[in-house]
């Protein structure tokens, strides 16, 4: 079975307004050198998919900068490869002029041309707010064996550790893997099985249900399409049990990031056999630990210069930590400059932030202190 991919870059942007003020959910930096889209893209590429449509609506300049020509994911191809699907806007007034899709179903309607021109048997749909490393090839194989219309990747979430919100869809699955029920998360406690918002769909089936939804003026992919298909018994779950994180608030972003400092989780996400996570290659120099630097329990990207103390933190590329400075429990994004004798605790700095000498900034793990892009403190 051949497969093509389709990635929604903006869905759920509004959950994390701080980080998406000038970027898409897809281009939120994560884990020292990644952007959230790297997970969706790598999952597809690792499963042998070589054609991916990337649905963009707004704010996607930073996403285009990250993606470049797709070479870093080996998707710079003459045939297939990565295709940007911009919103359909025209200069002339008409029904669709200046329309920016807001739901998954509307977005699908907007890219029916792309879907119709594919020749692949199945499509893999993915959002960008989940962090996982799924063997999608296996899911496609099962999809075929099951004779499924739609297969939903699902994961088990312990709500005590990862709180959920109403963006999550809870699934009930029978012994054969069939999804029997599906509902928006409603404050259940304990371990719940949720959709990862990654779908394997037969292309012809998707064409039909989307056309039908258009005809009926429907708007929700879950409520109007998926829910109604359940009784037919051809919607299956494919359980994934590796690292699973979902970014639905600044706090959950902080929590999902800090989970990487648990070595087991980090290895589970990044070191799966034959499933590397690809990202844009930036020609950074190695990180230099100056004489006298002290670092512990931290994840550090290349291109950093560390002269002070760093603990329980994540440093993105090009971060500088000056002498006499102590950075604890913090996330410092690309090219953050922390000068000398600074104290940071539970702080998130966005790109190109400058923290001057002798500053002391302190948040809390339930309320990290976010410093916006290019701020100087």
């Amino acid at each position: 079975m051949t497969a093509a991919g389709l990635i929604f870059s903006n869905i759920h942007d509004s959950s994390v307004p701080e980080l998406t003020a000038r970027r898409t959910m897809a281009s939120i930096p994560y884990g020292g050198r990644y952007r959230l889209i790297d997970f969706a893209l790598s999952n597809m590429v690792n499963s042998g998919i070589t054609k991916v449509g990337l649905i963009t609506h707004y704010n996607y300049q930073s996403l285009l900068d990250h993606i470049g020509n797709g070479k870093d994911w080996d998707l710079a191809r003459r045939h297939g490869g990565l295709k940007i699907l911009p919103p359909f806007i025209t200069a002339y007034d008409n029904a669709t002029a200046n329309k920016v899709y807001s739901t998954r179903l509307e977005a699908l309607m907007g890219v029916m041309d792309f879907i119709n021109h594919c020749t692949e048997d199945v499509l893999v749909l993915s959002d960008c707010d989940v962090i996982c490393n799924v063997d999608i090839a296996q899911a496609i194989e099962r999809h075929e064996q099951n004779g499924a219309d739609i297969s939903v990747i699902t994961a088990t979430v312990d709500t005590a550790v990862q709180p959920l919100d109403a963006h999550a869809e809870v699934v009930k699955v029978d012994a054969a893997g069939r999804i029997t029920d599906m509902a928006t998360y409603d404050a259940e406690k304990g371990e719940v099985e949720v959709s990862a918002d990654i779908f394997v769909v037969r292309r012809s089936y998707l064409q039909r249900v989307v056309a039908d939804a258009i005809a009926h003026g429907q708007t929700s992919f879950y409520k109007d399409v998926l829910y109604r298909q359940l009784p037919k018994g051809r919607v299956f779950a494919h359980h994934y049990d590796g690292f699973f994180g979902r970014v639905n608030s600044l706090e959950s972003y902080f929590r999902c990031s800090m989970r990487l400092l648990d070595r087991g989780s980090c290895v589970n996400l990044f070191y799966r056999h034959n499933q590397p996570i690809f990202t844009k290659v930036r020609n950074s120099v190695p990180t230099r630990y100056a004489p006298g630097a002290k670092v512990s329990n931290s994840l550090i990207a290349d291109g950093c210069v560390i002269e002070g103390t760093v603990e329980n933190s994540i440093l993105f590329r090009g971060v500088k930590v000056g002498k006499g400075t102590r950075v604890s429990n913090s996330i410092l994004m690309q090219d953050t400059l922390v000068s000398e004798n600074v104290r940071l605790n539970c702080v998130i700095t966005d790109k190109n932030v400058i923290i001057k000498d002798n500053r002391e900034l302190c948040g809390h793990e339930t309320m990290p202190f976010y410093i916006a892009k290019e701020s100087q403190v």
Binding site: R33, D72, T287, P291, A301
Partner: protein, 394 residues
Amino acid sequence: MFKKKECVAMLLAGGQGSRLYALTAKTAKPAVTFGGKYRIIDFTLSNCVQSGLDTVGVLTQYQPLVLNEYIGTGLPWDLDRNYGGVKILPPYQGKNGADWYKGTANAIYQNMQFIERYNADYVLILSGDHIYQMDYAKMLDCHKTNGADCTIAVIDVPLSEASRFGIMTTDATGRITKFSEKPKNPDSTKASMGIYIFNRDKLFSYLTADAADPKSSNDFGKNVIPAMLAAGEKMMAYPFVGYWKDVGTISSLWEANMDILGEKPQLKLATGNWRVLSRHDNAPPQYVGPDAVVDNASITEGCEILGTVKNSVLGENVRVMEGASVVDSVLMGDTVIGPGARVEYAILDHNVEVGAGAAVGAPRESADGKIAVIGEGVRVEAGATVPAGAMLSE
């Protein structure tokens, strides 16, 4: 359709580098790892790209597989071009038989067709085994301004060391009046860096004459340059000031690696927009564990440090386990230092495994300059001892 290129670079990368012993058993010297995430050839290639030269022929001969894979399409250096870019030029079989490259000049002679295709006016000859950062565009400007037939880059060396180099004597205008290969009593401190710019037609005529001479060893330094000088061609010296190191021996390779460390490193891998470009994998960020000690070190992606690392350079995917220590050493990558193991004053090639509790090398103070070297793929058994200056290969 080949568009004209003003200048084509020819990079000699065929040398065996036999004084690097175990490190060049399976790979050509230009492909030896340096500074944790580079290969020696990255410096020359990056110089080309950042000098605006986008057509580079790489002449290979000895153990080229690793180098070929590494250079690939030229993507990391932005040399995957439709016109020009980086091209590997191995020896080949012609209608009248097959020839390996006999010397540096012969390698270029056999590839004159390549240079002709781009109709280049100037040819820049480089070797792939020095560590330095240089803007060749400035050298080419100088060559053109001088109206020279050949320009040779030179660097000032201490008079005491001059007898190890090819030494240029120049007049007040910078014109070379004498060239002595490793002179006993040097009368100048200007050493040739092995970087030449030639006018294409001049080069071709001397190469053709050289190829016809059965007594020639077909070498630039030994034959072509002296011949041009003897014939009175206009040959100019181009002075270079900056970091430059031939990493042809174990100790010079070790020293150059150490030069990227310290409060203010002697060798800067990036300054302003000028940086050394390299191919590297997509490894996750390095992880430094709760009880790790990292002091004065250069560490790159994919590393996991649970023990101690001091005064050392670590390449990709090195794991230093609990209680292990790495001091005064260069670890090229993909290596595991087992729990409690000790590595001191050593160079470890890729894919080395040092078993738990093993000891490699001796403290630098007591090693008497003898660096332990472990070749690619070697496994040092748990508890084993590898003495200072030992040289292990698979």
